[in-house]
């Protein structure tokens, strides 16, 4: 990012290559709508370019990037709610039309998990996705969302508990005991 700020033309494609897929996954899980996720993804990167001068090396780039993505998601959700033409999140995301092979490989777990994520309250989903997908530490999520750190952690615990309950109810036995961190 520093190179990009200095005007290195090769820096931006490198950034996009490294982070675009992860940001897209994050936005897709958040919105549960591929078309909207694509729009938000594009909007996020455009904002990265426009606001590149605002970024300071003191902040982690990923935190800054996901803050932009998260804000875009929040704004998008707000717009959607204002339109109120359809419920924000009802159906699990279907990516089969875009990537049938990968969708087949995902088997049963994917729709189950995505449905479970979709049912989470927005505040919990936000924290879960930021921590689990973006890998942002709890104290930084607290700063991003403006919520106290203990609140962020309790939201995360509630989200994990809800997801685990949903998975167990669906008969999914995830491999237990792994040290994922």
């Amino acid at each position: 990012m520093r190179r990009f700020q200095r005007g290195d033309a090769r820096a931006f494609p490198a950034l996009v290559r490294r982070h675009r897929a992860a940001v897209f996954a994050f936005v897709l899980r958040w919105t549960q709508d591929r078309a909207r996720a694509e729009d938000i993804l594009q909007e996020t990167w455009l904002k990265v370019v426009r606001a590149s001068n605002d970024w300071s090396p003191r902040a982690r780039f990923t935190t800054w990037l996901y803050t932009i993505a998260r804000n875009a998601c929040v704004d998008g959700a707000r717009r959607e709610r204002a339109r109120a033409t359809e419920p924000l999140v009802t159906e699990p995301v279907s990516t089969e039309a875009h990537d049938p092979e990968r969708a087949a490989a995902a088997s049963e777990l994917r729709p189950l998990l995505e449905a479970a994520i979709a049912t989470l309250p927005e505040a919990q989903r936000e924290v879960f996705l930021l921590r689990e997908m973006a890998g942002i530490p709890f104290h930084e999520i607290a700063r991003m969302t403006g919520a106290p750190e203990p609140t962020v952690k309790s939201r995360m615990r509630y989200a994990l508990e809800a997801l685990r309950t949903r998975l167990t109810a669906a008969g999914v036995d995830a491999p237990a005991g792994g040290q994922v961190a």
Binding site: R6, L113, V180
Partner: protein
């Protein structure tokens, strides 16, 4: 109900442990606890289950749509950033150069106003002024040039600073006229002594101001210029002006350490402030410089307006106080040459107590009415005179003469206003 476990870790701490946010030594201790605690192990296992399930989902492929245009946009932005950085570098260099030039220009421009305080001129400056002055210039042109700050700047660039006394004297000599300072000297001395006597400054400080190191002595001045100028010079020094000499201007650019007296030190510190600002902010001009640079002409115009107002008020009812409107205008304009920022800087550097007192008096004047205004107004007049705030002093003194005509205060205010006429060109003076 589960019995409490004394060393049971907090749920949040376990959550942090699951996500690797606990420092290694503490994490080891927590894991030891978890190994022996079914509840905590269950919680950690639950978290790990969800995380493992979530990670087993293959990553989504982002769309290719829009990628090309996004990369092109990024490339454009990078190009813009390159050009901006280049521009900023140039701008930084330019602003640093401008700041440096401004410092060079502002200090000498400031100098003639010190002359208003009858600052001592170094020996030999009269000769320099005479040598530099074009003999063929018409009087009107000279008067206009004196009021033109740009011209002043150019002149200051060309030659070492000379005191206005010297300048006036040079002009007077060119026209074979007597030196005006001679006439004003006793009055000025008397007025300044009165002003100084009212102030609370410690005696040592006053003595210091009276004898600035590096300033030419009366004897030196007397030998090179008119001997009876020394009275006016001493009065100016008493007023705390401590004006810089030509050598002070040069040495202040080099180092404050090489100062030989209080006047030089103050000047050098003012100068160093500006220089350090310029150095620390290469991309943009320093605040003081930036504020001074573009707005200088308008400030001068504003000052001129105030000056005209001062002249109008000074001339109107008390013809004996100020000889004519032209005279007052010229006096005030001579006083108005330094930018207001420089005036306040000088005032602050010279006499903080006086400045504070002046502010207090001004506050009093906002509420005082009738005869209650006389005292504060007179004090304002005297303070501004002693702080070398030429136009302000003329203005406030003329208020005294207008509001309380025929009183001893009005007479004293008139004398103070007349004291500034020392700087008038000889023709106007007569």
């Amino acid at each position: 109900m589960r019995p409490p476990v004394p060393n049971h870790p907090d749920d949040d701490r376990l959550l942090e442990l699951a996500y690797g946010e606990v420092p290694a030594p503490e994490a080891r201790a927590l894991r030891q606890h978890v190994d022996g605690c079914a509840r905590c192990r269950q919680m950690l296992d639950g978290i790990a289950e969800v995380r493992t399930a979530f990670r087993s989902i293959p990553a989504d492929t982002p769309p290719e749509r829009g990628l090309e245009s996004l990369l092109a946009y990024g490339e454009q932005a990078a190009a813009r950033a390159r050009s901006r950085r280049g521009g900023l570098r140039i701008l930084g260099l330019l602003s640093a150069a401008a700041a440096f030039a401004l410092v060079w220009l502002v200090i000498p421009t400031h100098r003639p106003s010190d002359g208003l305080a009858h600052a001592p001129a170094p020996a030999g400056t009269d000769m320099l002024a005479q040598a530099e002055a074009p003999r063929s210039a018409a009087q009107g042109d000279r008067a206009r040039d004196e009021l033109d700050p740009a011209k002043d700047v150019k002149q200051n660039e060309r030659k070492a600073p000379t005191s206005p006394l010297a300048k006036t004297r040079a002009e007077a000599e060119r026209q074979d006229r007597p030196v005006p300072a001679r006439r004003a000297e006793p009055e000025t001395r008397q007025l300044e002594e009165k002003a100084v006597a009212k102030l609370d400054a410690p005696k040592e400080e006053r003595q210091k101001r009276e004898q600035p190191a590096g300033a030419p002595s009366d004897v030196e001045v007397g030998s090179s210029a008119a001997g009876n100028l020394s009275g006016a010079l001493a009065a100016g020094e008493k007023a705390g002006a401590a004006g810089p000499s030509a050598t002070a201007g040069a040495s202040s650019l080099m180092s404050a350490e090489s100062s030989a007296g209080a006047a030089k030190k103050r000047k050098a510190s003012e100068h160093d402030d500006l220089a350090s600002n310029a150095g620390s902010a290469p991309a943009s001009p320093p605040a003081a410089v930036a504020a001074a640079a573009p707005s200088a002409p308008s400030q001068s115009r504003g000052e001129e307006g105030r000056v005209q107002e001062a002249a109008r008020m000074a001339a109107a009812p008390t013809a004996d106080a100020v000889a004519s409107e032209d005279k007052a205008l010229a006096t005030a304009k001579t006083a108005a040459k330094p930018a207001p920022a420089m005036q306040s800087m000088r005032m602050g550097a010279g006499s903080p107590e006086k400045a504070a007192r002046l502010a207090e008096v001004k506050r009093q004047l906002t509420t005082a009415k009738g005869d209650a205004r006389k005292g504060p107004l007179m004090e304002q007049c005297e303070l501004e005179a002693s702080l070398q705030l030429g136009p302000d002093a003329v203005l406030s003194c003329s208020k005294v003469t207008q509001e309380f005509p025929g009183t001893p205060e009005a007479q004293r205010a008139g004398e103070i206003a007349r004291g500034f006429s020392v700087q008038l060109p000889a023709k106007q003076e007569r």
